[in-house]
């Protein structure tokens, strides 16, 4: 019985993830050293990425430290499947990961580039209001109206269009399934690819304060 109570408590705790969004502790300066040696080629030392030619390379600057740390841990454990990143994080200690997360979180995000301005209005509408007919919730509900994110809900403003689009597609197919509570898989299951692209375009152009 006692064991059951403990187990039940554990199951309960895993569900309450966004309530306990405590930022990690560490030393961003140490994180900068790793960034300058390991991460810079794809993400840039300032976390604004290199030229957005490869949709696999996201901007990291200004994202929440708790989000970045979770992704690093998930790449390491295989919960988020990505061969390149698995290799990159293989030699990082838990402290390294916390330091890196804090470093990139502290960098200033630069605005992105909109490739297809014709889609921005539609993307904004979905981001702000969702699609009630299909049951798509507004992205702003979790990621905030300014797209600056909150806790484990990542900052999305200014992200490369192709990266955002690729992640939405992967959530949709289940290829990416490290979203807690299956939230993003549930959202993307109700979206068309055209809607995903529109949202991604809108986010690339969100003005950063």
């Amino acid at each position: 019985m006692k064991k059951f109570v403990i187990l039940a408590a554990m199951v309960g705790l895993t569900a309450s993830w966004w309530v306990m969004a405590a930022p990690p502790k560490g030393d961003p300066e140490k994180g900068k050293q790793i960034a300058s040696q390991v991460c810079l080629a794809c993400h840039g030392v300032d976390g604004n990425g290199t030229e957005p030619t490869n949709p696999e390379f996201p901007k990291l600057a200004g994202k929440q430290p708790e989000y970045l740390l979770k992704q690093l841990k998930d790449f390491r454990s295989g919960k988020r499947k990505n061969e390149i990143m698995a290799g990159m994080v293989a030699n990082l200690t838990p402290d390294d990961m916390a330091n890196l997360a804090l470093y990139y979180a502290g960098q200033k995000a630069k605005p992105g580039v909109v490739k297809n301005p014709a889609l921005v209005a539609q993307g904004k509408k979905i981001y702000m209001d969702g699609n009630p007919d299909a049951g798509v919730p507004a992205c702003a509900g979790c990621h905030e109206v300014d797209a600056l994110g909150y806790g484990f809900f990542p900052h999305l403003a200014g992200q490369h269009t192709e990266y955002t689009l690729l992640q939405l597609k992967r959530f949709n197919t289940g290829e990416r399934d490290n979203d807690k509570g299956l939230a993003m898989q549930s959202v993307t299951a109700k979206m068309t690819e055209q809607e995903m692209r529109a949202v991604a375009e809108y986010l690339a152009g969100v003005q950063l304060k």
Binding site: A15, S16, G135, A138, G141, T173, G174, A183, Q185
Partner: protein, 237 residues
């Protein structure tokens, strides 16, 4: 024997955690269409959640996953796609959430964002009290206003005894607040209740509305959409 039951328990728990990719599918608990249906049976997850003490501050955070549809102020959409939730009784919110989770109230749109995989029992208690404390907005969707006298007469005769003169419902009896609710949302629900499409309907209410023709439905719901519950409403601008 003890080991065996433990194993069974572990297995049940493991199965309760969804591992499949994609949007989770709503289960189906027997509802009003089944012979043994008991409305608001004090059992299951609902009974457990009702024992928990909700915390509105925590609820503000847990509500994030709801506000993409129901909006930060709880108002939903005035076209009735999503109901208004601000100022609703916590008991009602808990019952409805539990019914959606069990599949007694069918709602495939909401289930992926309301199931056990995404929100736990304590969070439901927290969200419920957070919403109950919120002020009811005045700009809810209203009806055409063409048969309000007829609507009022029907309301006084058939609805008021449970839902109250001002649409304040009854917290202890799990009867919802109607004041401030969107016309089109209530119309859809009352028709579903009449037509046996709302699985967790109260048979007492089905009896009341089963002979209502559509124009009477529209008249009474129009009247309901104009009720106001001052103690839970936002200050008039």
């Amino acid at each position: 024997m003890k080991k065996l039951s433990f194993l069974a328990l572990a297995l049940t728990l493991a199965l309760a955690i969804p591992v499949l990719a994609g949007a989770p599918q709503q289960p189906k608990a027997p509802g009003i269409e089944s012979k043994d249906y008991v409305w608001n049976e004090p059992a299951g997850e609902k009974a457990e959640i009702l024992k928990l003490k909700g915390d509105a501050e925590r609820g503000r955070n847990a509500y994030r996953v709801c506000q993409g549809c129901h909006k930060p102020n709880g108002a939903g959409l005035s076209d009735g796609t999503y109901p208004q939730l601000a100022g609703q009784h916590a008991t009602v919110l808990i019952k409805q959430m539990a019914d959606v989770r069990d599949g007694r109230r069918e709602n495939p749109k909401m289930f992926p964002f309301a199931g056990k995989h995404i929100i736990d029992m304590q969070e439901i208690a927290d969200v419920a009290i957070y919403l109950q404390n919120m002020k009811i907005p005045h700009d809810n969707g209203k009806g055409p206003g063409t048969s309000l006298d007829r609507g009022k007469a029907l309301y006084k005769n058939d609805c008021q005894v449970c839902h109250g003169e001002n649409g304040e419902g009854n917290e202890k009896k799990f009867y919802p607040v109607l004041a401030g609710q969107h016309y089109k949302y209530m119309l859809r629900q009352i028709m579903n209740i009449r037509d046996g499409k709302r699985g967790n309907a109260n048979p007492k209410m089905v009896k009341v509305v089963q002979n209502y023709a559509d124009p009477d439905m529209e008249a009474v719901v129009d009247y309901m959409s104009r009720l106001s519950m001052p103690e839970r409403s936002a200050a008039k601008r």
